[in-house]
């Protein structure tokens, strides 16, 4: 086994195909570990990790914490809402104060794109980006690809459509990078107002019609409509959005092949996908959550092995 080419995981853009393969291989081992009667290994018992979340998160934060605990790391978690950030402390000061308590790794979510990159240039710790604004969410993209690999055997050559609010989505950007790096073909589908202009420059095509997109693809990754990031109306009504871009069982059954349905969560049931689709055999949404722990264990383990 080789090493990662990077000391931080700031985004998929900064890593290469070998890194992804190594992370997946390591995650295979950890997936076996988390299905044991006792789901813990002692590898990281001398590593301390701070989870700093300046934005709300349930799944990602729990998943990271669980991954760290399964590796026996010491974990401190911190939400900006209850912190001195409210008193006006800068990001570097906040993090350096935490690092003075002998912390080796920082997992950070922040509303500003580039926050993780900025931190990696200014503090001495291994940084894992757990989402920075609408920029990247690398561990989500890794677990999405890992789930596709698990379900379909491989990612190379597969056709994936990312549906919905691409404009506000860090999951979309990281997924596009990760999928293309592994040789998959990517389309995006959604209302024009939620598709970034110039997205074709990333090598993806835009398909405005949902039915056509679904007929083309092997996997549909349904993004959440991020109402909290919308300061103006991007579509007339939720009802109209779900009629145009929501997947229901009737639509799914009318396709001539069985496609895989993914969703990074949290689901707006009845908006992007209906409940019967979310809970169907074709959906791998809960597998994604399980794989998330294995992927994050692999990322943390591999980065920790590079800490001097």
């Amino acid at each position: 086994m080789s090493e990662l080419s990077v000391n931080h995981l700031l985004g998929i853009k900064y890593i290469n195909k070998q890194d992804i393969d190594l992370i997946f291989e390591t995650a295979d081992h950890f997936k076996e570990v988390i299905n044991r009667p006792i789901k813990k290994v002692p590898s990281l018992r001398d590593i301390t990790i701070a989870n700093i979340f300046f934005e709300n998160s349930t799944r990602t934060k729990l998943s990271f914490e669980l991954a760290q605990k399964r590796l026996s790391a010491d974990v401190i978690s911190f939400s900006a809402a209850q912190s001195s950030v409210k008193k006006g402390e800068t990001l570097i000061d906040t993090v350096n104060n935490i690092l003075s308590m002998k912390v080796d790794m920082v997992v950070m979510r922040h509303a500003n794109p580039g926050a993780a990159y900025f931190l990696s240039k200014n503090v001495k710790a291994s940084i894992v980006n757990a989402g920075d604004g609408a920029h990247e969410h690398p561990t989500q993209a890794l677990l999405d690809s890992y789930s596709i690999r698990e379900k379909l055997g491989e990612v190379a050559g597969k056709k994936i459509v990312i549906v919905g609010d691409v404009l506000h989505s860090r999951v979309a950007l990281s997924n596009i990078y990760a999928l293309q790096m592994q040789g998959a073909e990517v389309k995006v589908c959604g209302p024009k107002t939620l598709i970034p202009r110039y997205i074709e420059s990333l090598g993806v095509t835009v398909e405005p019609n949902l039915r056509k997109a679904l007929e083309w693809c092997d996997v549909a990754n349904m993004l959440r409509v991020q109402n909290e990031r919308m300061d103006v109306n991007f579509f007339p009504s939720t009802r109209e959005y779900s009629q145009q871009y929501g997947v229901d069982k009737t639509l799914l059954d009318s396709l001539d092949k069985e496609i895989v349905i993914m969703h990074p969560g949290p689901i707006n049931r009845g908006v992007e996908i209906t409940s019967d689709v979310a809970d169907s055999q074709q959906s791998v949404i809960l597998n994604q959550v399980e794989n998330g722990v294995a992927i994050r264990m692999a990322v943390i383990y591999l980065l920790a092995s590079k800490i001097q």
Binding site: M1, E25, T26, H29, V33, V41, S43, D46, Y301, S305
Partner: protein, 181 residues
């Protein structure tokens, strides 16, 4: 680099038969006993012994698993070489079973220390024994000794004991390798 033959293929074969007989003497029908090959190199020896026990000595249905100890090692971040993980395959609980760890070479004892911790993830065995093909004397860092040994070998720290297996390396044999000469 010099290479000295410690055991020929014929000698390895005789030793495997002896070890199999010693196991039968102690564990009879193996109904409560589980063989665990320590990954990566112990798995070949474990496969051989299971095969021998089943085919030559007619002991049916021997439970065999492979245990990878990578994540339980005590040298994580202490060596320059990245630790390489292998597959763990234990499809049963070891609760109240007699476990026999099987490895090719016993050197510092640290791998076995890691294995003793790793196996706890699969339950609480009623007892654990250790079988190794080669026992390197005077080299232990920990108070760990084998219950069944193929051959005791004296080797200095610069020397490496390599066990070859037909299925992996094309021949059976044990060699003493000195890379300084």
């Amino acid at each position: 680099m010099t290479q000295k033959v410690l055991l020929t293929s014929k000698e390895v074969n005789i030793i495997l038969h002896r070890l199999a007989c010693q196991l039968i003497e102690k564990h009879l029908d193996f109904s409560d006993t589980i063989l665990i090959g320590i990954q990566p190199r112990g798995s070949y020896l474990a496969d051989r012994l299971k095969d021998l026990l089943e085919k030559e000595y007619k002991v049916p249905n021997i439970a065999l698993g492979y245990l990878d100890i990578t994540f339980f090692r005590d040298d994580f971040r202490r060596t320059n070489k990245p630790l390489e993980a292998n597959r763990t395959q234990i499809n049963f609980l070891v609760e109240n079973k007699k476990v026999i760890f099987i490895d090719d070479v016993l050197y510092t004892g640290r791998s076995i220390r890691a294995a003793l911790t790793a196996i706890q993830s699969f339950g609480r065995p009623s007892g654990i024994e250790l079988l190794t093909l080669i026992d390197r004397r005077f080299s232990r860092d920990l108070p760990i000794q084998p219950d069944y040994r193929g051959r005791q070998v004296d080797a200095i720290n610069d020397e490496k004991v390599k066990v070859s297996w037909m299925e992996q390396d094309g021949e059976d044999g044990v060699f003493l390798i000195n890379s300084n000469k």
